[in-house]
Symmetry: C3
Subunit: 185 residues, 3 copies
């Protein structure tokens, strides 16, 4: 092919992205490894306090199981009584807002970063993720950058969405499609 | 919407679920972290003996690779010569029965827990998983609660099933669909 | 059923597969655990040097994030300026050739091993994987044995391919299907 452009990762430049002071990131990196990504069961209260110390807004009664990987707590909000399941990965290089009474199940992933694959320099693209009240993200499911999961929506096990989920609606597959309405009695 | 109910995780109550004495769970938690979820290659014989000590029924010649995560060994049976692949996750808050000559490949997951998403209190639902003789669960695949994979069925790589798999049949996708018959010569 | 054959994993025999001397494999196993699969952020230069010491061909500027799991570095080539994302799993019991300017995102998996499920002894099948220049394997995607991803192809997040990807083409799903052309400007 003539004139076809190629990817040039040596030209990649994310210098305009500043997720926080070096010292804070370093201290969190160590804390994340020792306390959060560890398999050891550590008191939920201790975890909540540490997250708040690093700038997260964490509601009351929030449960954070072992082996959870959080990128930057200062970009994280979790509402009252929400659960972060074992092995969940909150890759929040952008803002993640989790409402109250949400459940992020085992191994689920919230992914805030993407790349512009039409650009030779593969520019970083960051977007926030919002889970409104009562949302359930199933085990090993993935929510992509920019997505809002509206009130009480459900993403079934091992599903993937890069588009918004409607309120009180259940989705499944990759890409996830609407399967039925969620009725709570 | 009027009269729409919401999820209330503060009302969640799993007090009727008793997976075993506190001391046993604590000792297994530590053993699981040090010996099983570790990346270090440890003798299969040692692993089999430890699982049996904690109440698992483990057949002869069973192979358990590194980084395997097992919830409760006393709810686990594995038949002769079966393999548990690297990074497999047996989240057996309910019974898991794996027959002889089964292969659970790398990163596969057996998931015994679910939640009643039509209930405001998001009640825990537990169901057992059965893999009959010769079943193969492919890398990073997921078997959901209540499923029986009948004799020599195959769940292909990264597939998900929440329904039973027929004997000598190969399935693929999320949700997994039947793709062909398995003929062994 | 009459005359139906069964899987016999006790008859499995991979003695003809020799991935390298015991000492080398042991030393790499320890190095992989301490330096590569660890969550700790370690200098990319140190990681590149260690991989080369163990026989990998690693280009300049290659980035290897934390929690990367590599089976055998002596079966790995990575071209200039390519990235190996956090938690990527290169299960290269066969050769893996990654071209320059490739991106293997978080949690992606390159899988070189399979089993002959039509054989009673479940014979090991190994095949190489090739990623040509500028390929992007999305987060938590899986490339199966024998696949070539041609120049600048893209496998979207959490997708799975067991067939070759055409150049400058974007794929999604499990099994991944072609969704559009990749134009780089």
């Amino acid at each position: 092919m003539l004139d076809v452009k190629t990817t040039r990762l040596d030209l990649f430049d994310n210098s305009s992205y500043s997720p926080g002071p070096w010292v804070k990131r370093f201290l969190w990196h160590i804390t994340n490894i020792i306390i959060f990504t560890s398999g050891v069961h550590i008191s939920y209260g201790v975890k909540r306090s540490l997250l708040r110390l690093f700038g997260a807004k964490i509601g009351k009664g929030v449960i954070i199981k072992p082996r959870v990987n959080i990128k930057y707590p200062w970009l994280l909000r979790v509402g009252d009584h929400s659960w972060i399941g074992e092995g969940a990965w909150i890759d929040n290089i952008g803002e993640v807002n989790i409402g109250p009474n949400c459940c992020l199940s085992q191994g689920a992933m919230l992914l805030c970063g993407n790349h512009n694959f039409t650009s030779s320099s593969f520019d970083l693209q960051i977007d926030k993720i919002t889970l409104e009240e009562g949302v359930w993200i199933g085990a090993k499911s993935i929510v992509c950058p920019g997505v809002t999961c509206y009130s009480h929506s459900v993403l079934s096990v091992s599903s993937v969405t890069s588009v918004d989920l409607k309120e009180y609606t259940i989705y499944r597959g990759n890409p996830a499609v609407e399967v039925k309405t969620r009725i709570i009695t």
